[in-house]
Amino acid sequence: MNTAIKTQNITKSYPGVLANSNVSIQIEESSIHAIVGENGAGKSTLMKILYGMTKPDEGEIEIFDEPASMSSPKDAINQGIGMVHQHFMLAKNLTVLENIILGIDRPSLKNLGLKKYKKSIQEVMSTYSLDIDLDMFVEELSVGEKQRVEIIKVLFRGAKILILDEPTAVLVPQEVNELFKNLNNLKENGVTIIFISHKLDEVLEIADAISVMRAGKLIDSVNNDNVSKTELAEMMIGKSLPTPPPRSTEKKQNVILDLKNLTSETVDGRKLFTDVSFNVFESEILGIAGVEGNGQKEVVESIIGINDIESGEIFFNGEIINNKSTRQRLESGISFIPEDRQLQAMIMDMNLTNNVIIGRQNIEKYKSNLATVKIKNAIKESESVISLFDVKTPNTNTLATALSGGNQQKFVVGRELEDDPSLLIASQPTRGIDIGAQSLIWEKLRESRDNGLAVLLISADLEELIGLSDRIIVFYQGSMVKELNSANLSPEDLGGYMTGLKK
């Protein structure tokens, strides 16, 4: 078989980080080649280089046996490489058609020729058995449909090599199957597919060849038939996977959080969640499972008081808190780790001392009688969080933006836990951070849970969800569909409830 892509000794570094180190990889034409590795292994950097978003410091690239050098995504497309990003690169206020043809023409004043394009796109769609309505606004599409648009977009530009970056990250098992079917179709039609992932199950299902990266290096490339999951995992991580710890089965007593028939307001003609009822006991972790966008985030934000609800009651420690402001709720013993730390949990251009006050500015610890900020207390607290949670930073004066993702998250988790809350709401608490930080956070969460904390956990990472939660409730289309016990549970089973197949 011919070689689609071949790289020799690709090296790339960023300030303080050697992202790719002497990576030499070979990808065969008309195959599905997976590149696996955990966060920070160097997969995305390699892909950015192959896609022309960035140039390597050293090394060569050959595409279809021709030496290639790409300084922009347009170069890459011209060479036949198309990228489907993890976070879709689609303009939601433009139509599917407009998104697909964007950038094909030079920016001229000639007529756009929408009809002509429509026809040729439809030809592409039928060749590869992909289907979508071209006149819809992207905003109106489902996640799987948006991904399909991305694929059509690159195929339409003549891509022969497709790079998919964590394509199943936002899909449910059923949409994943749909995607795999499409990928196999593409392979039959001569397309080469590079599949970046950290989900070993899927990789073993779909890939012909697998390359493992770790700490910027290419560890090895193997054929799918010759390797097992454990071997791959060991290559990927170099140590064993976390296992769910033994859990006590004693019945809990106090209900810390109690939601009764919560229904959201109607937004754009639909309700984000309806009739949600559940409770969280002291000394337990309740996990909320569900594909993003099924209402979990909105429920949690209603508990905090960011969103309004139309009906229902929220009880905290037996007291109804519907009419309390966010500030009051936070001060009464609820702590919150939001899912987007940079946007929602921290002030990036302020130092850690200031960031430790966020969410609790008005409590006696930080606010004097004259309404001034007690900065000394903040410094003390911040230093305490830094040491207890192993936050790697020169000191508490460092700006939040200077820390790595993992350290930022550790700081946020530390800040919330050290406040000694009765209820902690954690939304995607270890998303996008390194394994070291992740295990520390898991450890702290379990520790606090054992000490009596009630935790409401939302996680799209099924392993984290199963590993941490005592009970799991599944959200689908704004309703709570099932409560499960975390022992004896399989991801496929869970996925079934998450897509409404199982009722």
């Binding site: 919150f336 921290m346 002030i347 969410g359 900020v373 700006l399």
Partner: protein
């Protein structure tokens, strides 16, 4: 922060000044005037004793106006309406203050309170429109400036006009002596120079109060985090709507003080000649001084210096409007450089932090 970074952040205004003078020199050359000579004349005139007093006097309202704008900026609000707000405050204070007489400290205090209150209320309208109707404050405050000017013009002629005076143009009655702010000359032993406005003390107090409010209080903390990241601010329990109104009212309150320097110091009444444009100049000074109480002080003095020293240019056959260009250049270039340097500093910090992690 490392010394080199400190130096870097000071360099922006200096570079901007240099480039602005450079550009203005080019323009002067283009119209056939000698730039070196021009600037020399300006400088010499500007450092004369009389000029210095005048410069300080001019800088007082500029400074206070800048602080009013800066309060808004800290939260990410653009209060372009300081212009209308201070005029509203001034005319109401001028009229009400002229209607009675009590001992001086109290009378002045009362006038100040009235100016601050009326100005704050005018600003509150914009705050309300933003919170309830989602109208961006840039548009609403600018519209309110025009509406305010119209209302002031009307009321000056029909409501507040001094009754029974032979003076042709409309004006409010004069403030009685108890409502006039004494000059500081005796205090500083500056007998033979023109009056140094007593309001200087108020300006200094305002500056200190601003610093305390923004950097030491919880309210200021809330303002700053909302300005930096409104989403996180909301998640931290801040009620953005409440804060917007509070910020606008505070900003408007400060604005009320802007016109009082002239009013209490030498105008003693509100007339059609009352100084205008201070609101917009304040925006420039706030941007120049980066919302910092000391920086804005320097900025106010700088602009006042330029204004004063350029007065002499007409006598030397150079259009004094070159000074306006100079001001505008400085503003635009400084704003660009602040951004450039800010990004540089952040990059440096990231580099430093990741170096520390490696070791």
């Amino acid at each position: 922060m490392k010394l080199s970074l400190r130096i870097a952040s000071f360099s922006a205004p200096i570079i901007a000044l240099a480039i602005s003078f450079g550009l203005s020199s080019l323009i002067l050359l283009f119209i056939g005037k000698d730039p070196v000579e021009t600037f020399r004349i300006m400088f010499e005139y500007g450092i004369k004793g009389k000029s210095i007093v005048s410069i300080i006097n001019r800088s007082i309202p500029l400074y206070i106006s800048a602080i009013a704008v800066a309060v808004g900026f800290k939260m990410g609000l653009f209060n372009i309406g300081v212009e209308g707000q201070y005029l509203v405050g001034s005319i109401i204070a001028a009229f009400v203050g002229s209607q009675f007489s009590i001992i001086t400290p109290l009378h002045i205090l009362f006038i100040i309170l009235i100016a601050v209150a009326s100005s704050a209320m005018w600003a509150a309208i914009a705050g309300y429109l933003k919170v309830k109707k989602g109208i961006h404050e840039v548009i609403s405050t600018i519209m309110l400036n025009y509406i305010g000017t119209g209302l002031i013009s009307y009321s000056l002629t029909n409501v507040f006009d001094e009754k029974g005076s032979e003076y042709e143009l409309p004006r409010t009655p004069e403030l009685p002596e108890t409502g006039q702010m004494p000059a500081l000359n005796n205090f500083f032993r500056l007998e033979d120079l023109q009056d140094l406005h007593g309001f200087l003390f108020v300006a200094i107090i305002v500056g200190i109060f601003y610093y305390w409010l923004v950097w030491k209080t919880t309210l200021g903390f809330d303002l700053r985090i909302t300005g930096s990241n409104p989403v996180a601010a909301k998640f931290s329990g801040i009620n953005p709507n409440k804060l917007i109104v509070v910020a606008m009212v505070t900003s408007g309150g400060f604005a009320g003080l802007v016109g009082l320097g002239p009013l209490l110091g030498y105008f003693h009444r509100f007339t059609i000649d009352f100084p205008t444009g201070l609101g917009f100049a304040g925006i420039a000074v706030a941007l120049l001084g980066r919302n910092h109480p000391f920086g804005m002080g320097v900025g106010a003095l700088l602009f006042a210096f330029l204004e004063r020293s350029s007065q002499i240019l007409d006598l030397n056959d150079v259009p004094k409007e070159i000074e306006r260009m100079l001001q505008a250049f400085i503003l635009l270039i400084v704003v660009v450089f602040y951004e450039v340097i800010r990004r540089f500093i952040v990059k440096q910090q990231v580099k430093d932090a990741s170096k520390k992690i490696e070791t």
